[in-house]
């Protein structure tokens, strides 16, 4: 043999293995799914605060809107804290104190204090309402079955959302 013959290099080449490729693709997909899951979890908007009035009946929601309107109309029109009587509010045709023709109302309204109006429900299951004009107007409702006579009665009152 001649000393000039080229040296042979032996390199072992593994056969092309489809199984390994499948493993990496699977791992990549799993990683992507995990990242997507974490991303969705982190970016999810906080659940909206429960709005109290949503659970009220159509009739009670109507009374609530009327009361929110009445609170401003009384304050815009009254002189100082001299708030009008129920008779005066009815003369203004101001709902819910005055009945809307053609719309059934199940409430009896009374001005029980100089700044507090009470609407007592005449139908079982419908909430009583209270409007308190203590500087800012505050509205409450209660489904308590006890008879309501004044604004400081210890009932299970739910407070309407404060004014923005």
């Amino acid at each position: 043999m001649s000393s000039n013959s080229p040296q042979l290099t032996i390199e072992v080449i593994a056969p092309d293995n489809g199984g390994r490729e499948t493993l990496w693709v699977t791992l990549t997909i799993v990683l992507m799914v995990i990242l997507a899951f974490i991303g969705i979890k982190l970016n999810r908007a906080a659940p909206a605060a429960q709005v109290q009035h949503i659970g009220l009946s159509i009739e009670a929601k109507r009374v609530l809107t009327d009361l929110r309107n009445a609170a401003d109309e009384i304050q815009f029109s009254a002189e100082g804290t001299n708030y009008p009587s129920i008779t005066e509010l009815q003369r203004w045709e101001l709902p819910p104190f005055a009945k809307t023709p053609g719309v059934i109302s199940q409430y009896v309204w009374d001005k029980v204090e100089h700044d507090c109006y009470l609407g007592v429900s005449q139908q079982e299951g419908s909430p009583h309402f209270m409007l308190l004009l203590d500087g800012e107007p505050h509205i409450y409702w209660s489904t308590d079955t006890a008879p309501v006579t004044d604004c400081h009665q210890n009932l299970d009152w739910i407070k309407d959302k404060p004014r923005a």
């Binding site: 909206a48 929601k61 609530l64 809107t65 815009f76 045709e93 719309v103 004014r163 923005a164």
Partner: protein, 310 residues
């Protein structure tokens, strides 16, 4: 002569000052133009953000609208889904709008309205508070109060005008609701193409049984339409309210398939900006409602349903 010149100069300065002191109140939708016009009368300028004739369900702001936005002292927003084009612009331009000498005041007209949930959607409010007299009054009072905070000298004037306007709208409602005195509304079942009339019907103690659009401003697919037709037939729904100025191709299909009686309400977001538009179109809606509910076929069908249930 010098004294006279000074007097003229002072007069001009005063005129310029009073002109520049007037509030520039921006609005996004037609009803808000009517509300603000009736509150401020001639003591402020109203600047519609968008020229009349646009569709609020799909509008994208143009450069001219943004230029107008920069001139406003206050902007009255629906803010719960009907003027998203403006809400997005305000959000993206907040640093420029609030960082200037007279920062823009945003008035969220619906902040004190007891909102209804949107039909067929989650975590969204029904934005059509302006198609209702009670909810309109609530918004009128909020706007009057906020504008009064910006212009103290005219605050009492704004509030007084708001009360006068609210009473005018309420009187209109009473005029029509009297016609419903002897109508039993308990059995009346209602479908609505667009979820625009929940607040309006609630004022009369009526709920909506089915809303046809799968989402706000989105037409139903063929299978959704078939589902709606089945639902209307099964629930014996007798009246359908649809929009006066919007072409809904599927309405005639539903009408033919179910025999339901069709009535058109105004959505109040079309035409020219006009101070009297809300009063005029509310009147039209009240007339339509009385006509629909006084229809003997609606009552007869509901009576049959009630009888069947008993």
């Amino acid at each position: 002569m010098l004294r006279f010149s000074c007097f003229i100069l002072l007069l001009c300065a005063s005129a310029i000052s009073s002109a520049t002191d007037r509030l520039k109140v921006g609005i996004t939708l037609h009803p808000y133009y009517s509300y603000v016009a009736n509150i401020v009368k001639d003591r402020a300028d109203i600047v519609p953000l968008v020229d009349a004739g646009f569709n609020p369900h799909s509008y994208e702001l143009q450069p001219a609208d943004l230029t107008r936005l920069m001139t406003m002292d206050a902007l009255v927003l629906n803010g719960i889904g009907h003027d998203e084009f403006a809400v997005k612009a305000v959000e993206s331009m907040r640093p420029q709008l609030t960082g200037r000498k007279n920062p823009l005041t945003i008035i969220y007209a619906n902040q004190d309205v007891p909102l209804l949930a949107a039909a067929n959607s989650q975590q969204a409010w029904n934005p059509h508070t302006f198609v209702s007299i009670n909810s309109a009054i609530r918004q009128i009072y909020t706007i009057a109060e906020k504008l009064g905070d910006l212009d103290n000298a005219n605050a009492a004037f704004f509030k007084q005008n708001a009360v006068i306007y609210a009473r005018k709208l309420r009187k209109l409602k009473h005029q029509y609701s009297k016609a419903l005195l002897n109508t039993d509304l308990k059995g009346v079942k209602i479908a609505s193409t667009h979820n625009a009339y929940g607040y309006f019907l609630q004022e009369f103690g009526i709920g909506i049984d089915t809303v046809i659009e799968p989402a706000h401003g989105v037409e139903p697919s063929a299978s959704q339409l078939q589902g709606t037709i089945d639902r209307i037939k099964a629930a014996n729904i007798n009246i359908m309210f649809t929009e006066l100025n919007m072409g809904n191709r599927y309405v005639t299909t539903i009408e033919k398939a179910t025999g339901i009686k069709l009535y058109h309400f105004s959505h109040m977001t079309h035409g020219q900006y006009d101070a009297e538009m809300v009063f005029r179109e509310m009147q039209l809606n009240l007339e339509t409602l009385v006509k629909a509910l006084s229809n003997p076929s609606a009552v007869a069908k509901s009576d049959t349903t009630a009888g069947a249930k008993e």
